[in-house]
């Protein structure tokens, strides 16, 4: 049972005891790095996230300095509603792992161990070699294909940070039984998937220190700053284009892809 499962059990068991911590009021002390509540302190990004991406993230997050003008409408704890969660409750529900790797739990895993877990829990959907099966996503392949006419987006070719692989497996897989894997198993599966993609060697050991340092092939190909507007149409009213230049380039009627649109829901052939 993962820590989040345990916490839910506590909540459901009615053991949610209001820790009657008095409101501390407004305090400006910063949480020291590494403590619960500071899972992505900037110093942990050195050598992992490019300076350029970090700057964009900060500007996006605080609206290019707008956050400095923020004025709370009320004092902290003004309404005196709710309780303060315990450290254990916060730790149990805080599962997100940012690129810094903070919040990765203790434990480790290898590709060898991952292969067995994968065969038993993942291969039926994602294919024996991560090639995907029955329309379920492929986890392997496509490196070098992204700029070509047939791009293949997979964990290996597309995902910028290996921490996301750990986070997502821990968060959502296996699909039919999420939150049932132990940290060592998630580390092993991460190692196996990275190894199948040729990103890490078979002897590589995945743990809280090594996962954030993996150089994913596509790490620097993301532009995190929204470039829009990138189209500049004008609200022309008369003779906007010449009538003779208008040609129908495609017509959905001829494509034969549309399910039936009246009567009961059409699952088409081979529907789910």
């Amino acid at each position: 049972m993962s820590s989040s499962r345990k916490l839910v059990a506590i909540l459901l068991g009615g053991a949610l005891i209001a820790t009657a911590t008095a409101w501390a009021g407004d305090t400006t002390t910063l949480t020291p790095p590494g403590q619960a509540g500071d899972h992505n302190s900037p110093k942990y990004y050195k050598g992992i996230v490019s300076q350029k991406d970090l700057q964009v993230w900060r500007a996006e997050g605080d609206g290019n300095g707008k956050l400095a003008q923020y004025k709370p409408a009320t004092k902290i704890g003004y309404y005196k509603i709710g309780t303060t969660p315990t450290a254990a409750q916060i730790a149990g529900w805080t599962i997100a792992v940012p690129p810094s790797g903070q919040n990765l739990p203790a434990g480790s895993g290898t590709s060898d161990k991952g292969a067995t877990i994968y065969a038993n829990n993942c291969a039926m959907c994602h294919g024996g070699f991560g090639e995907g099966a029955n329309n379920y996503p492929a986890l392997v392949g496509g490196v070098g294909s992204l700029g070509t006419p047939g791009p293949e987006k997979t964990v290996g070719s597309y995902w910028p940070y290996a921490t996301t692989v750990w986070d997502y497996i821990n968060r959502a897989m296996p699909f039919y039984a999420p939150h049932t894997l132990k940290p060592d198993e998630v580390y092993s599966l991460t190692a196996y998937i990275l190894n199948m993609n040729g990103i890490t060697k078979s002897a590589w050991v995945a743990d809280a220190k090594s996962v954030p340092l993996v150089k994913m092939p596509n790490r620097n190909a993301f532009n995190w700053k929204d470039p829009r507007p990138v189209t500049h149409n004008i609200a022309c009213m008369k003779n906007c284009v010449s009538a003779s230049s208008i040609k129908i380039t495609s017509n959905a009627l001829t494509m034969n892809l549309t399910p039936r649109l009246t009567g009961p829901v059409d699952h088409m052939k081979g529907g789910k």
Binding site: L30, T83, I246
Partner: protein, 417 residues
């Protein structure tokens, strides 16, 4: 009941397919049940009050349902269904018809066991029950929510001959809840608390990083939707509403609001909901849904069935950046446009209804609508979109839709050069 009446005619039409509806409707005008004769429902008693304590539509509306594209996803547990916009008369989407998008199916949540945790880089973490959340000062606002993949199938070519399946991953509702800012004020943030991570309690624990400035602006922790509690499909008992932004950031079945200094770069903002461009580079964060409009009548599902004459062109427009300013309608594939009439209310990040009277001469036509929002942004053509986004991306297809009206009144989805 011996005489065929209007009701039977409709039944026949529905059973035999859309093309017959026209014929049966016309036949009904001359059917024996027409005035001065009475219909059966006029000569008998109807159902009593509270016969259906929770009401539902007329049985003759049974074709008005959410539909999905069976070849799109491997499983309906991580899939989307579409709002039947062709049957949505105004700007509000019925709760039972609001499009769905799940990553691990719809959870069934007992509100008594629900908890929301606000934690991370805040001064005073907070744990709230649903009843406690409902005590805070509240707001009620009408906003659309649109999936960025709305229209994804139409990027390379006109592929689906349907308004519902090309534009239906959108819904518009009145959302009631507490502003996220109220709660963030309550827990206290630091000057470097720049990012917020809402997480769902569904099996996928769906999560997206959001900039603090947006969270302090207009985001709502919503429990109410159009006159009732949120539907389970929409996140019961609590969802985040992020007005004007991609559907997936409006996290449903909320369980945690985590605050941090940097974004988390989750699977849903890399593998999904990022845009791979033709040169191999990708756009990471494209949160805002740009202005878009579409004609909802006529459309492939609602052809012109009564021959030449008067029709009212009707449609919906919206912008994730503000209000709809104008909608212009073309009947000739974009050569000339006329300004449509906008119906009130015209609200921020909300659907706006437009109409244009049309005396159809019975000749083929290529009809389009084009919205301009109050930032001055004008909805682009698909050709303009392709120039930057490439031929086969997934998200953010807000291009002008062309419906081809044929001389027989049938309507097809086409794309123009």
């Amino acid at each position: 009941m011996t005489k065929p009446n209007r009701r039977d005619m409709f039944k026949l039409g529905a059973a035999a397919g859309a093309t017959l509806i026209a014929a049966s409707a016309r036949a009904a005008d001359t059917a024996p049940a027409a005035p001065p004769a009475d219909n059966s429902w006029s000569d008998s008693l109807g159902r009593p009050v509270d016969d259906r304590p929770y009401g539902r539509p007329s049985k003759y509306e049974s074709s008005v349902v959410r539909r999905y594209i069976p070849w799109l996803s491997p499983t309906r547990l991580a899939d989307a269904s579409f709002t039947p916009l062709q049957d949505q008369p105004g700007i509000i989407t019925s709760n039972g018809l609001f499009f769905e998008r799940y990553h691990a199916g719809v959870p069934s949540i007992n509100p008594a066991e629900f908890r929301l945790m606000i934690s991370g880089r805040v001064k005073k973490p907070l744990l709230l029950t649903l009843d406690q959340i409902m005590r805070y000062p509240s707001v009620s606002r009408i906003h659309f929510i649109e999936c960025p993949a709305n229209g994804a199938t139409e990027w390379p070519a006109a592929q689906l001959n349907s308004l519902q399946l090309t534009h239906g991953m959108i819904g518009c509702a009145e959302w009631t809840g507490v502003l996220l800012k109220t709660i963030l004020d309550e827990v206290g943030i630091y000057p470097d608390s720049r990012w917020v991570l809402p997480t769902g309690s569904d099996g996928a624990h769906m999560d997206r990083s959001l900039p603090m400035v947006k969270c302090l602006d207009d985001c709502i922790l919503a429990w109410g939707q159009n006159g009732e509690a949120l539907r389970p499909e929409q996140g019961y008992p609590l969802r985040l509403v992020v007005p004007g932004w991609q559907g997936n950031v409006n996290v449903k079945w909320l369980r945690q609001i985590q605050v941090g200094r940097e974004p988390w770069i989750t699977r849903e903002e890399t593998s999904e909901y990022s845009e791979l461009l033709g040169d191999g580079k990708s756009l990471g964060f494209t949160w805002v849904m740009d202005a878009k409009s579409v004609i909802t009548f006529p459309c492939p599902e609602k052809p012109l069935t009564q021959g030449p004459g008067f029709y009212e062109i009707r449609g919906l427009a919206w912008s994730g950046r503000g209000k709809v300013k104008y909608v212009d309608v073309s009947l000739d594939g974009g050569v000339n446009f006329q300004r449509a009439k906008l119906d009130n209310p015209i609200l921020d990040k909300c659907m706006t209804r437009f109409t244009l009277p049309w005396w159809w001469d019975g000749k083929p036509a290529l009809i389009q609508s084009r919205v301009t929002d109050d930032t001055g942004y004008v909805q682009p053509t698909i050709v303009q979109k392709h120039k930057f986004w490439g031929k086969d991306p997934v998200y953010e297809n807000n291009s002008i839709q062309t419906w081809q009206v044929l001389a027989d009144g049938k309507v097809n989805n086409v794309q123009l050069s």
